[in-house]
């Protein structure tokens, strides 16, 4: 898209109000969706709720191939399709809905940096656990990922995806890492992330999406969730957002089912 065309699109976006029938597409919720996709999808939903923008969630088996960037989730608004949280934030900003207007320059810079940190560390750790931990990959990730497809396509696609992720992990130097080390990185992140959150922003949406999904998803190893549970401020943060934005029980699970100890502390 040329610069002029891009400017034109953003003008169009600004002119049209947010429609009632905006739709968010994600893979099948029960059988197919994986931890990382579920987290990204929840992050976008949380962000849109924070902005007060209505959106319907639609599950499609081929969501990954429908998305313009090959990544889920994506939203279909009017006659436009936008994928991933970063571009969606830009897009809603063009329509006049923004959560980060109240921040000063330094805070905004820090917020952007922390969002990259989440993408860089949490997302990579999730991908690692899904595809590089052999037990999880064979018991959960591959069967779930390939569930809509018939033989032999299911094996081909699942292994192709796994190979792609593993190659990326090797390139960024995570290839030889064990689950232990990943968890240690995760906990380093948790210590660091205990520090931010100024007001509801896209960062909070992103962090909530990831943490909530990790806490409420059953994997072969519960070590990650255990790590996060040891940070009470992160737990109460998740609880707070869940209560304020998801009161209507749109989430199929609730945090309190998984962390009974949390309720007395609130």
């Amino acid at each position: 898209m040329s610069l002029a065309a891009e400017a034109f699109v953003s003008q169009m976006a600004a002119a049209e109000p947010w429609p009632e029938n905006a739709t968010l597409y994600q893979p099948l919720k029960e059988d197919q969706i994986l931890l990382s996709d579920c987290a990204s999808s929840l992050a976008v939903q949380t962000y849109l709720r924070m902005c007060g923008l209505p959106v319907q969630v639609a599950c499609r088996a081929n969501a990954e191939y429908m998305s313009p960037s090959g990544k889920v989730p994506f939203v279909h608004v009017g006659n436009q399709v936008v994928s991933e949280l970063g571009p969606i934030v830009q897009f809603t900003k063009a329509k006049g809905h923004s959560l980060s207007d109240g921040l000063d320059d330094v805070q905004r810079a820090e917020m952007k940096a922390y969002m990259e940190l989440v993408n860089n560390m949490l997302l990579t750790a999730e991908l690692y656990i899904q595809w590089c931990d052999d037990a999880t990959a064979s018991e959960i990730s591959r069967p779930r990922y390939s569930s809509p497809y018939s033989w032999p396509l299911n094996h081909i696609l699942a292994y192709q995806k796994q190979w792609e992720v593993r190659r990326k992990m090797n390139a960024i130097g995570w290839g030889g890492k064990t689950l232990e080390q990943v968890c240690r990185i995760r906990s380093a992140f948790a210590t660091s992330s205990a520090q931010f959150f100024f007001q509801p922003t896209e960062l909070d949406a992103l962090v909530f999406g990831h943490l909530f999904t990790i806490l409420t998803t059953r994997l072969t190893s519960t070590e990650l969730a255990e790590r996060i549970k040891s940070y009470s401020n992160l737990l109460s943060f998740c609880r707070r957002i869940e209560q304020s934005y998801f009161e209507d029980k749109i989430l199929s699970v609730s945090l309190s089912l998984f962390i009974p100890s949390l309720i007395p502390s609130l």
Partner: protein, 317 residues
Amino acid sequence: MAAPLELYCWRGDWGLPSIDTECLTVLAYSKFAGAPLKIHKITNPWKSPTGTLPALKTREEGSISKPSNIIIHLRKQKYNADYDLSAKEGADTLAFVSLLEEKLLPALIYTQWVDSKNYVDVTRSWYAENISFPLNFFLPNRMQNQQLEKLRLVRGDPMLEPGEQLEKELYRDALECMTLLSQRLGSHKFFFGDFPSSLDAYVFGHLAPLLKIKLPNGKLQQHLNSLDNLRNFCSNILLLYFPSTGQDNSSHKTPTHADGSDFDSEPHLRRNQILSALFAFGAMLGYAILTGIVSIERVQPQRALQARKRADDEEAD
């Protein structure tokens, strides 16, 4: 520790202690932390113990190549530049390093290795000149392929093809990243107060090459030049922590051109060239005269005249 640790990194140029981002990061960190390293500045990555640069040779853990691991190792040796940081600042460091790696690094790779004009004119020619003889024919191309592969992986797109669209996206991210850094730095001397930390080393490593290496397509450079505090930040670090290379630069500029050929060291180069050209010309002329190439041209008309005269005489007879 008896002997200092040994660090292998790329040689510097353009007033930089090293021309490679990762080497610069490690060098800057070791200076900030005051680690006494024995530094080998080489131009042949095959001479490094791990086959890539930078590399730190340690006794306990073998050799390490990744900058983050080198920094962790130095930290274990009690050379810690982040000792005074609070937990919040430690988290900020992690966050901004992620920002640099996700947003600025791809554009940096693109502008140095993928943009064809920059690559041919500057990057490849520098590596080809500096890497020793048989390697210089294929190593630069191999490095380009590795960098392109890295770019593809960072962007998560195995079919990535260099083009205008990609360039625009990468540069937009990078410009935004530089603006954010500039806003975060504000009017401070370093990112966290008056003392440099590992974040400063990372930022310096990524920005200094952009600032110093003159590229024909310098869009990123122009933007960086417009951000005064970041520019000053880089030149301050160069001045304070790498004074020798800074001075080298000013006196180095002329010799770099002169280094090109071996004859340049001779003082009477021009005179000798003219003399040898004259000698060669004289020798050729002499040969031409001796074998009769030149003389024939001059003599022929006379001989023809004489011959005609003789023929006339014979007719008259």
